[in-house]
Symmetry: D2
C-alpha cells in the first residue's frame, strides 16, 4: 500500500529496507517496522501471542533476495582480507561428526588462505559479532535493539555441504535464524522438562540419544526465517549439494522477571530496613533452636509464627520496592550493551557528526556551533539516552560514544545539574518533534543554550536545519 | 529457694555463679540462668516485654560484690604485664574533653609503665575483647552466647576520676553495662528519629548540641546494671572523686529480620527461577518506555499491570523461601563467631581434653580411646554443633576448635556421611541425656563406634564415665 | 647520483621516498637510507660522531616540501572526522601561558567541531601515536625502527599562532623534530647538571627561572629538522603570524648500557650461584658487627677483606654473564614494541597477505598454499623475527601480527622444534637472497615444506614468485 | 677453670648453662660461649676451619645429661595438652616405610589422645618451631641467633622404635642435631655433585638407589651432637629397642655471598646510573644484529668491543656498590627474623618489663619513669637494634617487640631524628658498659632524656640500677 515503508520504493532486500526505514521520523517506529518486516507476513500480534517465548515460527518466503545486502560469504571473505579477524576472538572453526564436536582454532590472525583451507576440509566457520565488521549488520541490529529494549546480538555461520558444525544444544537467548545463502536442514525440539523451558543458561552439547522426536524439521532456503525461544534444542546440517550461510540474531538474554527481581529485591530490602522498624527488630532470641532443616517436621507454634512473620515481611517488601528506579538501572545497563546508533545521511547533516568544522587554508573554518534560542532541536533517536538518579547525582547515560565492539568502552554519561532534568524529560516526551531551544524548561536562556550545545556536541541532539549552510 | 542455682551455695560473685551453673546438666539452662542472674531481680518476662529492644533498664543492686571475680583493674594490670597487649589491636587510649574526642594510641606493645602514664594524664583505657585475656570473661560470654543465639562480645572501660573518654554516640548492638569498680555518671537518650531506632549502624561522634534531654540520668555503682538497645545515644563520665571500671557486654549485631531476609531472598529467588516458569518469562518488550522514574507520575494501564505483576511475583516468593535452610546458614555463621566452650573440671574429665593419654616412662600410655557399644555419650553442650545441607555435602559445623580471638580460625566442620545425619539429630534431641552408642541409628555397630569416636576426638561428645580410670 | 634511492625518480617528499625505498631489496638498507635522508645533508658518520647523544643538530633545508605527504593538518582533520579519536587516550588539548601549563581534555570522542573550537581559543593539539591513524606515519616509523633497533614512536603537535602549548622540560628519548607546516620558534638548553645528561626520566615542567641561556635558538620552517638528545631542555612557541605543525619522532627510551645490565646482572648472578661454589658460601659469621654504615669509617682488616671479597665476586660475574642470551631477551622485548611491517604492493603479491584464496561462485577457490622443494623463499624483512632459547623451549618471536596500537597484542611467537633452529638461522643469514625450500637444513623434505608453509602462513616468509598465478 | 661460665657452678644441662650465661655482661659473649658449649670439646677454631660449611662433625659425649632441660618428650606432651598445637601448622605426622614417605596430618587441633595414637602406630612426630611453645628453646635460640647473625630456627623429631619418619634428602640450612633422648641411627652422605654442595635449595625426597656409600654412619645417643652443612644428604632411623627425640637447630638459610649480591647489585647499578654517564649512554645502534645466541660463534670486532664494554661496566660497578648500606638492609631483614630477647631475672628488674608501675589501692602507682642526666643506661643486648638510612628517614629497627612466632609481627622500628644518630651509635659502641644519660651526644639535656626514655619504654635500654626502689 502507498506509504508502507516496508514495501514502498527504495529497492529490495535489507539495503532497501534500511533506506525506507531512514525516512521514518521516529526511531521507535523504525524499530517496530524492522521487526514487522523480520517476521512478515506473520502479523506482530500473532507472533506475540503464539510464538514469542512460546513456540518456534517458520516463515518460508520463497524469496531468495529477501535479506539481500545484509551479509554474504563475499562480505565474509572481504572481512578476512582486512587482517583484523583473529581466531578465537572473532572466528571459531568447528566440526561435529560422528557425535564428536571439535574446535580447531589456531592462534593469531585468520587470513583467507588458512580459513578457506579449514572450510575446504569440512569445518564450519562461526563469525562472532559480525556487527563489528559489517556496517549493514551494525545498522540492522542498532535499529532492532530499540524494539527489544534488550541487547540484539548476532553470529554468522558458514557450513560446507554435507557437514554439521555443532552438536544439538539449547541457548539462553531468543533466536532468529535468517537463511542468507544456500540451504540447511534444521531440527527443533521442545524443551525436555519444564525447568529447561525459557532456560536461563545454555546447555552443554547433547547427544542424539538425549533427544526425542523433533517438533519441527525443515530445510531452510535463502530468504526464510526460523525463530525459536530459549530452551528449545536445535541442530542443523547441510545437504550434500549446497553450502549454507545464515545469521542468527539474538536477544533477551537474562531479561526475565527474575532477572529484574534480582536487582529490585536488595534495593527493596534496603529501603524497608531504612524506613520500617519491623525489619530492624531482632530475630526471636531462641529461633536457632526450633528453626532449621532438622526441625522442619516439628509441629511447633513458634515455627508457625516465625514462618508467618517472614511471609508477612516478604509481602510487605512490595511497599518498598523501587520499581521505577530499578527499571532505570536496567536501562542504564542496556544502554551500555547497546550498539552506537547508525546515522542516515540526512541525520548526519543535522548532527555534530556532519558539522562542517574543518581545517582549510591554514586555519579552522566553520567552527562555531551557533545554537540560539530559535534553533529547533530534538534527540537523534529516542532510545539513545536515559536519566538515572544515583547517589552521586543525576546522570544522563547515552549510547552515541559506545563502540561497535561489546563493552569496549565504559558506560558513557554526563552528570546533569538536577535543574536540567525537566529539559531532558521535555526532549524525550517531545520526540520525534523538534522544539526550539527557547522552550526548554530551564530558568535562563544561557542555560538552555549551554545544555543544547553540550548535547549537540555529544551527538545526542540534532537540529531541524543544518547549523551552517555549506 | 533450695535448688536455685543462682543462690545456692558455691560462693558469691561471678565465680560462685559459674560454679553453680557448672552443676546444671543442660547448657541451655546454664545460659538461661546466667541471663536471669544478669538482669535479676527483674523477671525475664518483664525484661523481654518492657526492655529488650525497647527501653533502657537500670538495676541498682546496692551489692558491690555482685560481679566479683568477673574482671578488675588488677586483672587488667596483670594482663598488661603479660606483654601480649598491643595498642590499637587490643587497647585504645582515648580522651574526650571540651567536645574533642581523641585517640592517643602509640605503636607497639602496651606495657604497664606507659599505659598507666596515659591513665595518670587523664586518658581512658578501652580493652577490646577481654575474653582473649581473661578466662573468666571467656567463660561468662561463652555461656551467654548460647542464650542469645548471637555472638556475645565485650569491652572493658577504665576511666580516671573527673574525665570522660568518649563522645556521645549510639551503637549497633544491645548493650549491657556492668559496673565493676568505682562509679560513673551515665546519660541515656532516646533515638532521635524513627530511623535511628534499632539502628543497623553505629553513629559518628555526636556533639552535645545534637542531643536533647536525657531519658535517664544516673550514677552507676559497683554491682549495678544498665541496659539499653541499639540506637539509644549515651555518654558517661567519672565523678571527680572516683575512677570507674565497667564491662559492656554486647550482642545482636546484624541479627534482625532484615538481616535474615538478606540471606533468604536471593535463595528464594534462585529457587523460584528454577522451579517456576513465570519468573523466567521475559519482561514486556516495551517496558523501558513506560517504566522508570521519569514515567512514575504517568497514568498508564501498562504501568499498573507491570507493578501488579512485580508485586505478585514478590508475594509468590513466599512459596519458594527456604526458611529453614537459611536459618541453618545463619547458625553456621553464628558458630563461626562463637567463643569455644569452657569446660568445667568434671566435663573435662569426661572429654578428650581430660583424656589421660600421655608420655610416661619412655612411651605413650593410656592412648586407646575405647568406645564400645555400651559407652554412654552425649554432646558436650547443646549449642556447639549444627548440621547444614550444602551443595558439597552434609557438614557438621562445631565450635570446639574455635579460637578465643575472633575469627582467628576458619569455620570448623566435618563432612558427614548423609547416613549419619539421623545419629547427629538423635544426639541433639537426646541432650542433655546420655545415650549408649548402641542406640545411635546407624546400620552397623562399627559405624556407631566410629562416629562416636570421631566426635569424641573433636571434643564434641563426652562420656558418662571417664573412658579410662586413672 | 644514479642509483641513489633517495634522489632517483619516484616523486618528491615522503611518498616518493617510500616508493624509492620499496625498490631496495634489503629492509636493513631501507632503514639506513631512510635515516640518511632524515639527517641529510649531514653525513651519517658526522651525525654519529658529533650529535647522537651528544649535541643538538639543526638542519635548515629551505625546502618546504621535503616532508610532503608524511602528515598534514588536513590529515589530522580527516582523522578527527573518523570519530575514532578520544580525548586523553589519543589527543591532548593543552596550553601554556604566563607560566601556567594546563590540560583541557574533555571526556569522550574528539569531534572536529569541538577540537577546532579549542584550537581557535589558543590551545595546542597533541595527537599521540599518529601511526595508529596514518598509514604513511606507520610506514615511515616501521622502517625507521629497524635502523634504531629500538622502538620508534611519534607525536604530532599543532599550535595556533602566537601561543605555546607546553612548559620547558626535557624528555627521556632522542628527539627528531620534523617541521611539517608553518613555523615555530625553538629554544634548546644544555642539560643543567651531569646527572641530567642522557636522563633516564623525563623532567617535570620547569619554570623560566630554572633555565639559563639557550644553547640554540631558531625559527624552524617547513622541511627543517631539529634533533636533540634526551636530557636537553627545550621549549617552542608560535610566531604571531603563523601556526605550526610538527611531528616529533622518538627512540632510545630505556635503551642504555645500564638498562641492559639491569637484565644481565640477575641472570649472571643466577649462573654464578649455580656453577660457582664461592657464591654459595656463607657470609663471615660476624660480618653484621663490623660492616654497615655505622662502621664505615672504622679501620679494620675484616672490613678490607670483606670489601675485597665482594669486589672479587662482582668482577668474576663477568665470567658468568650470559650477554648473548640477554641481548635476545632485549630483542624479544623490542619485537613486542615494534610496529607491524608495512608491505609494498609487490611484497604483498608474494606474501600470504596477497594470496588469492577467496570465496567465489559459491565456494572457495585458490585455497591451496602449494609450497614445494623448488619454491624460493626469504624472510619478508630482516628485523621481523628473533629466535630465543627459553626454559619452555625455542621460541620464534615475530612482529607480523603486532598491532599498530602499542602493546594491544600480546607478544607473538611460535614454539620451534629445536631441529628447525638451523633453518631459521639459515633464512636469516641468507636474507635478502631467496633460497629454495630444498636447501633448508632440515632432515626430511616434509619438514622443510611444513616449516616454510607455517612461516608463509604467518606472513613471515615471502616467495620469489607468486604461488598462484591469477 | 675458675670463671669459665660453661663449667662454673650453677647446675648442669642447658638450664645450668643458661644461668651461667646470664652472668656474662655482654650478649655477644653469651652467644659465643653458648656456641662453644654446643660444639665442645671441639675448639671453635677447629670447627670453623674443618667443619663449618665443609664437613660433618660428630661429637659423642657419653654424657646423657648434657642437654638436660632443653626439651623432652614430657615437655612435648605438656605442650599438646595446652590445646594450642594444630596439625600441619605446628605438628607433622609422618612415616617412611618401604621407600614411601607419607604425611598423615588430620585437620584441626592436635590433642594427646590422637597424637599418641599415631605414634603408637609407628608415625614420627615433627614439632615445628618449638621455640613458640618452650621458653627454654626460645631462650637458647635467641642467644644463638646473635652468634650466627642469621636466624636460628629449630624443629624437634620424635620417632618410635624401629621406624624411620623421613626419606633421604638434603636441606638448605646448616644443621645441628642434638640427641635429647634415646638413640638414632644416622647416615650422612657427601653432596653428589659440586652444584649440590652448599645448596641454595632443599632437595626432594630421594630414593635409596640415588645414594652412594655414607660418608658417616653412627648411632647417636643422648648428649651427642651431629653437625652437617647444607647439601649433605642424610637419613635416620630408630633401633628396634629405643625411641628417639632430637632437636635440629638450623641457621644460615639464604645467607651466602650470592644472596648478599642479590641485594647489592641492583643498588650498585642504580647508583652507577645516577652518577656515571657511561651507564646512561645508549647501546650501539646496530648491536641487535651482531649480538645474540645465533651470533655467538661469529668472529666480529664489534662483538669483542661490546663484550669488553659490558665487562668494563660490570667491573666498574665495584666503585658504586653501597656495601655498608646493603649490609644494613640485611641486618634489618635479620632483625625481623629474630626471636625477641629473653631477659634474665636481673635484666628484667632493670628494664621496662620489670618496671613496677601497677594498679594498687584504686589507682596507679610507681608510674613515672624518672630518667635523669645521671641515670646510667646501656642497651639490653647488643644485637637487638640496627640503624638504617632509608629514603623516608633514619630508622632504628629493633627486636624487642617481635613475636616468638616467625614474622607474626611486622618489622618494628622507630623513626629517629638524624641528630640522634650519634647517640644511638654511642650506645652501641659503649656496650656492654653503662653510660650516663648526660654523656649522650645530643645538644640539649631534654633531648638526651627524651631519647633515653623512649628507648627504655620500648625495652631497648636498661638502667644500671632499678629506676624505682620497691
Amino acid at each position: 500500500p502507498p506509504g508502507d515503508p516496508t514495501t514502498s520504493p527504495g529497492g529490495g532486500g535489507v539495503l532497501g529496507l534500511l533506506r525506507r526505514l531512514g525516512r521514518l521520523e521516529d526511531s521507535r517506529q523504525r524499530a517496530a517496522e524492522l521487526f514487522r518486516w523480520l517476521v512478515a507476513p506473520v502479523a506482530l500480534e500473532e507472533f506475540a501471542r503464539q510464538h514469542w517465548e512460546r513456540a518456534p515460527l517458520l516463515v518460508q518466503r520463497g524469496d531468495a533476495g529477501y535479506y539481500a545486502g545484509l551479509f554474504s560469504t563475499a562480505d565474509f571473505d572481504a572481512i578476512l582480507r582486512s587482517g583484523d579477524v583473529h581466531f578465537g576472538t572473532h572466528l571459531d572453526v568447528t566440526s561435529y561428526a560422528e557425535g564428536v564436536r571439535e574446535t580447531h582454532n589456531p592462534v593469531g590472525r585468520a587470513l583467507p588462505a588458512v580459513v578457506w583451507d579449514f572450510y575446504q576440509n569440512g569445518c564450519s566457520l562461526r563469525l562472532l559479532s559480525p556487527q563489528a565488521f559489517s556496517t549493514t549488520v551494525w545498522h540492522f541490529l542498532s535499529i532492532l535493539q530499540e524494539h527489544f529494549g534488550s541487547m540484539a546480538g548476532a553470529n554468522t555461520y558458514l557450513t560446507p555441504p554435507g557437514t554439521q558444525g555443532f552438536a544439538p544444544h539449547y541457548d539462553d537467548i531468543e533466536a532468529f535464524v535468517l537463511q542468507l545463502e544456500g540451504k540447511k536442514h534444521w531440527r527443533v525440539y521442545s524443551p525436555r522438562t519444564c525447568s529447561e523451558a525459557l532456560s536461563q543458561f545454555s546447555s552443554a552439547n547433547l547427544t542424539q540419544a538425549e533427544l526425542g522426536e523433533p517438533l519441527l524439521e525443515v530445510v531452510l532456503e535463502a530468504g526464510d526465517l526460523l525463530y525459536f525461544p530459549r530452551g528449545f534444542i536445535h541442530q542443523a546440517d547441510c545437504l550434500p549439494d549446497a553450502h549454507s550461510l545464515h545469521i542468527t540474531v539474538s536477544s533477551y538474554q537474562r531479561n526475565s522477571w527474575g532477572d529484574f527481581l534480582e536487582k529490585l529485591l536488595p534495593a527493596a530490602l534496603q529501603m524497608a530496613l531504612e524506613e520500617d522498624l519491623e525489619y530492624r527488630q531482632g530475630l526471636p532470641i531462641d529461633c536457632l533452636g526450633y528453626m532449621g532443616v532438622a526441625n522442619s517436621d516439628a509441629v511447633d507454634a513458634r515455627r508457625t509464627a516465625f514462618v508467618e512473620k517472614v511471609q508477612h515481611l516478604i509481602k510487605k517488601l512490595v511497599d518498598y520496592a523501587p520499581i521505577d528506579a530499578a527499571m532505570d538501572q536496567r536501562a542504564k545497563s542496556f544502554l551500555h550493551d547497546c550498539l552506537p546508533p547508525v546515522l542516515t545521511e540526512s541525520e548526519k547533516q543535522l548532527s555534530v557528526y556532519g558539522f562542517p568544522a574543518r581545517w582549510q587554508d591554514g586555519g579552522p573554518c566553520n567552527v562555531d556551533i551557533l545554537i540560539t534560542k530559535d534553533t529547533e532541536v530534538r534527540l537523534l533517536h529516542h532510545g539513545i539516552v536515559r536519566l538515572c538518579n544515583e547517589e552521586a547525582g543525576v546522570m544522563l547515560y547515552y549510547t552515541t560514544e559506545n563502540s561497535r565492539v561489546y563493552h569496549k568502552e565504559e558506560p558513557k554519561y554526563l552528570e546533569i545539574d538536577p535543574e536540567y532534568t525537566d529539559s531532558i524529560e521535555f526532549l524525550l516526551s517531545s520526540y520525534p518533534n523538534h522544539v526550539s531551544v527557547d522552550t526548554l524548561p530551564c530558568d535562563a536562556l544561557e542555560d538552555k543554550i549551554s545544555l543544547a550545545t553540550l548535547l549537540f556536541e555529544k551527538g545526542i541532539l540534532t537540529t531541524k536545519k543544518p547549523l551552517v549552510q555549506v
